[in-house]
Amino acid sequence: METVKLTIDNKTIEVPKGTTIHKAARELGIEIPVLCYMRLDDLNIENKPAGCRICVVEVEGRRNLAPSCATSCEEGMVVRTHTTRVLNARRTVMEFILSDHPKDCLVCAKSGNCDLQSLAQYLGIREIPGEEIAEMSTYRKDTSPSIIRDLDKCILCRRCEMMCNTVQTVGALSAVNRGFMATVAPAFEQNLEHSTCTYCGQCVAVCPTGALTEVDHTAEVLRALADPAKTVIVQTAPAVRAALGELFGMKPGTLVTGKMVTALRALGFDYVFDTDFAADLTIMEEGTELLDRLQRHLSGDKSARLPIMTSCCPGWVNFFEEYFPDLNDIPSTAKSPAQMFGSIAKTYFADKIKVDRKDLVVVSIMPCLAKKYECQREEFSVNGNRDVDFSISTRELAAFIKQANIDLNNLEDGEFDAPLGESTGAGVIFGATGGVIEAACRTAYELHTGKKLERIDFTELRGLQGVRSATIDFDGLPLKIGIAHGLGNARKLLDEIKSGKSQYHAIEVMACPGGCIGGGGQPPHHGNSEIIKARAAAIYEEDRNKPLRKSHENPFIIKLYDEFLGKPNSEKAHHLLHTRYFDKKKKIVVKH
C-alpha cells in the first residue's frame, strides 16, 4: 500500500495514501472537532460535504484553511490543528452557525444529545455577537405520522440527505433553496407525508440537532396510564434492551432487560410483555409460509413465487409498497411481531383477562420510528380501535423513565409477565440484521427435516456486510438465503428479483443499517459504529443465555396454538396474524 508521511502538530506520521487529515490526526491522539462529518466505519457510511467548516486546519503553503475531514494527507504536508488562527476561525464559524439556530434548548427533544450543543460547550461560546440584529432563517414546521421536521434547527450538515439518498435510496430529502434559506426538504417542499419517505428514521438517527425528531407519544401513554378505566399493557422490542442503558450512562452493549421490566412496571403498566414472544409467533407463521411456498414451488406450482421476503420491518414494507408495488406478492404476508402482539393481545389476552378491547391499551416500545406509522395503518385496527395503540421509541422511554425519577442503574431485575412475555433466543435475535432469517432457519429446519438441529448458531448469517448470502443445508436441500440491511442494499436484491436473476429462496430485509439495533428510534450513535456492534453482541449474548432458542419450542406459543389459533397458517391465524400490501407509489402532487 502506498503511504505518505506528514507532520501534524510537530508529530510525524505515516498513513496510507488517501487518508484524511482528520483520521491521521486522530491516530496521533489529536482530536479535531467535527460537525457535519460523520462516518460509520463498518457500515461503509460516510458524510463529508465539508460544509460546516468547523474541522478546518492550517496546512503550510495553502492560502486558506483546509477542512480536515475532506482533505487527503500528502507527502511532506505540515499541518497545524489548533493554532490561534484555527481556533479563532472555528469560534467565529460556530458563532455564525449559532446565530441562525433557535435557543430553545430547554424544550428541545435533542437537548443533552445534541452535537451542536456539545460543540458550543467545547468551544466555550458564551454569547453570540450581533445576535440582536441577526435575522433567523425560518421554515414551516412539518409533522408526519412518525417524524417532525423543524428546519429552523437545521444546520445543513446534509447527513439526513446522505442517509436518505445514498444509503437508503429513498430520495425523500434533498437540499432545496439557496444561500441563507438553503435547507433540506422533500421535492417542491412538500410535507414528508406526501413524499416517498418510508419513516425508517435514519435521518433522525443521524441528525446532529433537533431539526429531525420523532413524534413523541409519551404524553398519550401517560394519559392512558393515569386513566383507571384502562388496562395498559406494554411490549418491548428486542433491540431496546440492548441500547436503553446507553441513555443512563451505561457502556454500549449493556443488556438491561430485567431493569427495563422493573422500570416499566414502576411506570404503572399493568402487564409488561415482550415483543420477543410475538417474534416467536412470527417465526411459526413465516417459517410455515416459507416451507409451504418452497414445497409448492419445488413441486412446480407457478403461483408459489420465490424468494419469500421477511416482512417484520415497517420501513421496509413502506419501501417496497412505494418503489416495488408490482412485487407485493413476494414478501411474506405475516404481520410484524409488534402487530401480531397487538392482535393477540386484543383478542386472546383480552378475553383471558375479560377486558373489552376498547379498554385495553397496547403500547409498544420500539427502536423504530416507522412503527409509529405502522400502528396508524387502517388494516391494523378493528372498528377504529388500533391493535397497537401507541408506539414509543427507546429514546422516548428513557426520557419517560427519567421523568418518573426512576434510577434505572440501581433497579432489581424483573421478569416479564406471562403469557405474552415468554420468549426464546430466536425471538431475541430479531433485533440484529440476519436474526430473523436465522430464527426462521432454526425452526424451518426442524419442521422440514423432522430432525434435531445440532448447530443452533448460524454465524454465517451474522455480520455487518450490507448484502450477505449463505446456503444452508436443509438435509439435502440447499436453501439459499440472502440478507440485506439498509434500503439501498434491499433495492439491489429487489432489482435482481425484478429482472429474474435472483437466486435466493428466502431473503431478510431490515431497513436500518445494522438492523433494529441501529434503528431510527435508538439512542444516538454519534457516528460511532462500535456502538452498533456492541448492541449486536448484546443481542446474541441474550440469545446464548436463553434456555430455549427455537421459536417452536416456546411453551406459550404451543399453548396459544392449542387454545386459540389451531395451527400455523390456519384460517384464524391468517385472519389475525397476516396482512396484505398496497400500491403506494407516489404521484407528484404538490400539497402543503
Partner: protein, 597 residues
C-alpha cells in the same frame, strides 16, 4: 460605386439590439432597396462593437466611419447623404467627452486608441451568423494548423509558452491545466466552456459569443485535440438568448462544413459540442458547481482536489476554461507563443477584456494589453469621469473583487498587481465610482449580491455573509459602534479563510478593501454618524441656511409631509422628526438655501 463594395456594419450586441437596432437594420435595407443600392451595399449585423453606452452604433466600411446613437429614422439620411453623396453626418459622429471634438474613424476614436483586440478580434467586424464570414477572417485556420502540423503535446507546449492564464477569474495557467488533463489517461475526456458569466455589469463573454462564436468553437476543438477529448460542452446561462441562438447557428454551420463532428478535416480527430443551459446561479461559474449542475445535480461546489482536470464531468478528466480564454487560443496558434507573450507584463501575458461601467463617460467593452494602467483605462479609453466629478475608486473583479483607489491609478493592471492591491482580475468587470459614492454602501451592495448568490452549502458563506450584510446595514443606518469595524474585519478574514469555494473565499473582498482604503468613511458612519458622501439616507439631515433663505415658501409647498414651516419672507426651518429626506425641497429651492448635513 462599383470599385469597392460598401458595407454597413450594424452592431448586433444585446444593448444596441435592445435599443431598436433591429429596426435600424431593417430601415437601412429598405432605404437601400428604395434607391436600388441593395446589390452594391451590404448590411451586416455584427457582434458588439464596444461603445455600448452610445448605441445603437454602425460602422461604414471601407471609410471606417463610426456613427453612434443612430435611430431607425436616421437610415434615410445615412443612405442619401453618406452612401450616395459621400458626406459625413456630423451629428451622428462620436463626441469626445474630454475635448468635445467630433471623431469619425475607428483609429481616431479615443476609446479605441489604447486598445488591442485579440479575444474581440472579430467582434463588430464579422457577421456572427455567417461561418463564411468567420472563415474569411481566419476562423478554423488554427484548428487546421494544429491537426496537420502539430501533435497534441506541441499544442500544449505552445499554450504553456504563451503564458496564457485563465480569464475567468483565477488566472491559472491554461497550458498547465491542459497538460494535467492530457496526462490523465482516460477513455473519455471533456472540454467545457464556462459561459456562465454572472458578475453584475459584466458582459465580456456574452459579447464574444454573440460577436464571434466560431472563435470559441474552434478553440474548444483545439483543446479537445490537445487533451485527446472528443466531446465539448458549453455551459451557458439561459438568460443569454442571443448568444445561445448564435452558438446554435455556429455549431450547426460548423457541423455542415465538417469542422465539428467525425474526422474533422479528414483527420482522425473527431469532436462535437453540445450546449448545456444554466439557470443563472452565480455559483455555477465555479467549476465544480458548474460540473455538478451539468450532471443534473444541485449546482454547488465540492472540495478540490480532485481538480476537474483529474476528475470532472462524470468523473472524467475535464478542462473547464472561460469563453475569453478560448477566444485567445487561435491567434496564439497562428501567430506563435512569442507574439502573445510579448504582450502584457512579466507574469500576465496578452490582453484582457473589461466591461467598463459606472460613473464613466464611455461605458462599454474594451480589450487592453495587460499592464495598462487604471488611469489610461479611465481617462483615455473611458473618457474620464462623468459630469467632471472626481474619481474615487474602481471595483475590479465584480462582487469578488476589491476597490482600487487613487493611489492605484498608475499601477499596471495584471493578475498579480490586482491581488497585491487587495482586489482581483475576476472575469473583467470594472466599475468606476466617483466622489458621490459611499464606500460603505458600495461594499453593502456587492455583499448583497453574494448573499443572494451563495449556494448555502458552507456555513461561513451562507450565514457569515448574511451577518456581515446585516452589520453593514446597521452601520449605514447610523446604528453602528466603533467596535463593529473590528468585528467586521474579523468576519471578513474568517469567511475568506474558511469558505468552501471561490465565491465565499472572495466575497468579503469588497468589504475588506473598502475598510482598508476608506477606513475614515466607515469611522464617520460609526462615530459621528455621518455619511461623507451623503448617500446614506438615515445619516443625513436637510437643513435650511437662514442667511440664504428668502422665505419664498416654495419648499414648504413642495414638501409632501409638511416638515417645513416658516412665515412668508422669513427664513424657514425643516423639522427633522417629520422630514422623510426625499430631497424635493432642495430641488425646488432657487437660492441654494437648503443643504444636506
Amino acid at each position: 460605386m462599383a470599385k469597392e463594395r460598401i458595407q454597413i456594419m450594424v452592431c448586433g450586441g444585446t444593448g444596441c439590439t435592445g435599443d431598436q437596432g433591429e429596426a435600424l437594420l431593417d430601415n437601412l435595407k429598405l432605404e437601400l432597396e428604395a434607391n436600388a443600392l441593395e446589390n452594391s451595399v451590404n448590411v451586416v449585423k455584427t457582434g458588439c462593437m464596444g461603445l455600448c453606452s452610445m448605441g445603437p452604433n454602425i460602422k461604414i466600411l471601407p471609410d471606417n466611419i463610426i456613427y453612434t446613437g443612430v435611430r431607425p429614422d436616421d437610415a434615410r439620411e445615412i443612405v442619401s447623404e453618406h452612401i450616395m453623396k459621400g458626406r459625413r453626418i456630423e451629428r451622428l459622429l462620436f463626441t469626445d467627452p474630454g475635448s468635445g471634438e467630433k471623431l469619425a474613424t475607428e483609429k481616431e476614436l479615443s476609446p479605441h486608441r489604447k486598445q488591442l483586440r485579440i479575444a474581440l478580434r472579430n467582434c463588430g467586424i464579422i457577421d456572427p451568423e455567417s461561418i463564411d464570414d468567420a472563415i474569411a477572417h481566419d476562423a478554423y485556420e488554427a484548428l487546421a494548423t494544429a491537426l496537420t502540423n502539430m501533435k497534441p503535446l506541441d499544442v500544449i507546449k505552445l499554450i504553456k509558452d504563451s503564458g496564457l492564464r485563465g480569464r475567468g477569474g483565477g488566472g491559472f495557467p491554461t497550458g498547465i491545466k491542459w497538460e494535467i488533463a492530457f496526462n490523465n489517461k482516460s477513455d473519455v475526456k471533456y472540454v467545457v466552456c464556462n459561459a456562465d458569466e454572472g458578475d453584475p455589469g459584466a458582459f465580456m463573454d456574452r459579447s464574444i459569443l454573440e460577436g464571434d462564436p466560431h472563435a470559441v468553437l474552434e478553440a474548444m476543438a483545439i483543446c479537445g485535440y490537445a487533451i485527446e477529448a472528443a466531446k465539448g460542452l458549453i455551459y451557458i446561462r439561459a438568460e443569454y438568448p442571443l448568444a445561445v441562438s448564435r452558438l446554435n447557428t455556429a455549431i450547426r454551420q460548423a457541423r455542415e462544413y465538417g469542422l465539428l463532428g467525425t474526422n474533422i478535416m479528414g483527420s482522425d480527430f473527431s469532436f462535437d459540442i453540445e450546449i448545456k443551459y444554466g439557470a443563472g446561479a452565480f455559483v455555477c461559474g465555479e467549476e465544480t458547481a458548474l460540473i455538478h449542475s451539468m450532471e443534473g445535480d444541485r449546482g454547488e461546489p465540492t472540495v478540490k482536489p480532485p481538480f476537474p482536470a483529474v476528475s470532472g464531468f462524470r468523473e472524467k478528466p475535464t478542462i473547464v476554461n472561460n469563453v475569453e480564454t478560448y477566444a485567445c487560443i487561435s491567434p496564439i496558434i497562428l501567430k506563435g507563443s512569442e507574439w502573445f507573450s510579448s504582450i502584457g507584463t512579466e507574469k500576465s501575458k496578452g490582453t484582457k477584456v473589461f466591461a467598463l461601467a459606472g460613473k464613466i463617460n464611455n461605458v462599454g467593452l474594451i480589450e487592453v494589453p495587460m499592464g495598462t494602467t487604471l488611469r489610461e483605462v479611465i481617462n483615455e479609453i473611458g473618457g474620464g469621469i462623468r459630469n467632471g466629478k472626481k474619481f474615487k475608486a474602481a471595483q475590479t473583479g465584480g462582487p469578488s473583487g476589491g476597490c482600487l483607489t487613487e493611489k492605484h491609478l498608475d499601477t499596471p493592471i495584471d493578475f498579480d498587481n490586482l491581488i497585491a492591491a487587495g482586489s482581483m482580475m475576476g472575469s473583467g468587470g470594472l466599475i468606476v465610482m466617483d466622489e458621490d459614492d459611499c464606500m460603505v454602501s458600495v461594499a453593502k451592495f456587492f455583499l448583497e449580491f453574494t448573499v443572494e448568490e451563495s449556494c448555502g452549502k458552507c456555513s461561513p458563506c451562507r450565514i457569515g455573509n448574511k451577518r456581515m450584510h446585516e452589520l453593514l446595514e446597521h452601520i449605514t443606518k447610523g446604528k453602528g459602534v466603533p467596535a463593529d469595524l473590528e468585528r467586521l474585519k474579523n468576519m471578513c478574514h474568517v469567511i475568506k479563510d474558511t469558505s468552501l469555494c471561490g465565491l465565499g473565499q472572495s466575497s468579503p473582498n469588497p468589504v475588506l478593501s473598502t475598510l482598508e482604503n476608506f477606513r475614515e468613511e466607515y469611522e464617520a458612519h460609526v462615530t459621528v454618524k455621518k455619511c461623507p458622501a451623503g448617500k446614506c439616507k438615515d445619516l443625513m439631515e436637510y437643513f435650511i441656511i437662514a442667511a440664504n433663505c428668502v422665505g419664498c415658501t416654495a419648499c414648504a409647498r413642495v414638501c409632501p409631509v409638511g416638515a417645513i414651516s416658516g412665515e412668508r419672507k422669513e427664513p424657514h426651518v425643516i423639522n427633522p422628526e417629520i422630514c422623510i429626506k426625499c430631497g424635493a425641497c432642495m430641488e425646488k429651492c432657487k437660492f441654494d438655501a437648503i443643504i444636506i448635513q
